[in-house]
């Protein structure tokens, strides 16, 4: 497959791993955060951590959009799904995220008309096919997904689809990164930056990481050689005493992002004053809602939602996993009380969640031999 196979070459991977070994200083421990859930998935799918020296540690960031949705928002979604004459649509992963009293899948079993979609456009099609019912799309995701929702809302308006509404849970990547960098819990040496978020926002928004916090970052693609190359770039910066934003994924990510996507997002969305993140609490200006021009399509204005903040289950340590403070297998309920089949925390629900990635790819080894 073009643009895929050439980034999965095992010989090149071994060669890169050898160069990485030559870049690390013996006795120094390196801790890099992969911001994006897609990277977490690649790391465990392809066994990238097994190719790294023992003193290079990868910790998982808050970049899985399903994992960061708090229980209260799931409760709000379920309340909307139970409204009369509503068809509630969402991505598949959201169906299994526990709220305080069950999941959207449970609500579906109780009779709510909840349908899984692959895109906002699919939800709009359902709305057109059911003009007598209100169709609500539960929008989640970072800046990668927000333009897709924005385009669909624009399309709904321009085509006069009056029964299409959006429950907006879109979030932005920079505020949680700042929160992590300000956290005393975590000492990081560098970041593997989110590749597809950067196709939209560009590389510039990450310049504050080296400028204000003195940490290097490499925006990376998702194939195994991409991730290894990004680690190589970060280690090279550290060795040469540099600290900057580099773009490993330059074949896809323009420095300025996608201006058209940013323009449409600014037209359709506006920042919420604050938004709750699972395990991280409320973060200022980290979430999006529909702008005044699109308020008539806002499901939370058309219907009332409970809007109650619900504390995470005591046994669940998703918050610490999302902040990279503990590894998934260090959680008290990992693999016992919490499994992909019966998840307690969101990190075990989504395919991009760190716990699900650990669980699915059998990365239980807690100690690795020095390469």
């Amino acid at each position: 497959m073009k643009h895929v196979d050439e980034f999965r070459d095992p010989e090149l991977g071994q060669a890169l791993a050898g160069e990485i070994l030559g870049l690390v200083e013996p006795g120094r421990h390196y801790k890099f955060m992969e911001v994006c859930g897609g990277h977490t998935h690649s790391i465990y799918k392809f066994g990238i951590d097994d190719l790294l020296p023992a003193n290079v540690e990868l910790v998982h960031g808050p970049g899985c959009p399903v994992c960061v949705i708090p229980m209260g928002r799931v409760d709000d979604a379920i309340a909307l799904a139970h409204e009369d004459n509503v068809i509630f649509t969402c991505f598949g992963d959201m169906l299994r995220v526990p709220g305080s009293d069950g999941t959207l899948l449970d609500a579906k079993a109780e009779g709510a008309d909840i349908r899984m979609v692959y895109s906002p456009l699919d939800a709009l099609r359902i709305a057109k096919a059911n003009p007598d019912r209100d169709v609500i799309f539960m929008a989640i995701g970072f800046e990668t997904t927000a333009p897709s929702t924005a385009l669909t809302l624009k399309r709904a308006k321009s085509e006069g689809v009056a029964n299409f509404f959006c429950m907006c849970n879109h979030v932005t990547i920079v505020p949680p990164l700042r929160a992590l960098l300000d956290s005393p819990d975590l000492r990081l040496d560098g970041f593997i930056g989110p590749g597809h978020v950067s196709t939209v926002v560009g590389v510039r928004p990450f310049e504050f990481i080296p400028a204000e916090y003195g940490k290097p970052i490499s925006v990376a693609g998702f194939e195994p050689l991409d991730v290894l190359h990004a680690i190589h770039m970060i280690l090279t910066q550290l060795k040469e005493g540099r600290c900057e934003v580099e773009n490993q994924y330059a074949r896809v990510v323009p420095y300025e992002g996608n201006p058209r996507a940013l323009q449409i997002m600014s037209e359709v969305f506006e920042l919420r004053p604050h938004f709750e993140w699972r395990g991280m609490g409320f973060i200022s200006q980290s979430g999006l809602k529909l702008s005044k021009a699109y308020a008539d399509l806002d499901a939370e204005i058309r219907y009332s939602v409970p809007g109650v903040r619900v504390a995470d289950p005591k046994a669940c340590q998703c918050g610490e996993v999302l902040k990279g403070v503990i590894k998934p297998w260090e959680c008290k309920v990992f693999g016992s009380g919490c499994t992909p089949e019966r998840p307690i925390g969101t990190c075990m629900v989504s395919s991009e969640g760190a716990c699900a990635a650990y669980y699915n790819y059998g990365r239980f080894a807690r100690e690795r031999e020095v390469v």
Partner: protein, 93 residues
């Protein structure tokens, strides 16, 4: 890929659609897949695109317009978010 798995799951348990957890979901999160433009609906800003396994879907092309049949795009949640070029996006502009 995921679409086929979901279809198979739905055949056995129609009330319980699931995402494919071992290969990742095409549309959730930050996952995007390369697809080729097959046919255009220029009036509506849509294109029929196919992935390397032959699965096809209708894709919003506004963010990368104009596109032509044969163009290779990176698609996320039914929207093309970038072009895949040999020389990289900045050089291509």
């Amino acid at each position: 890929m995921s679409r086929l798995v979901v279809s198979a799951a739905a055949a056995f348990a129609p009330t319980a659609p699931v995402c494919e957890h071992t290969t990742g979901c095409i549309t959730c999160g930050d996952v995007a897949i390369p697809m080729n433009v097959v046919r255009l609906d220029e009036a509506r800003g849509l294109a029929l695109c196919a992935d390397d396994d032959g699965n096809s879907e209708t894709v919003e092309t506004d963010l990368v317009a104009p596109v032509a049949p044969g163009d290779r795009l990176l698609v996320h949640a039914g929207t093309a978010i970038a072009r895949l070029n040999e020389e990289g996006p900045d050089e291509a502009r």
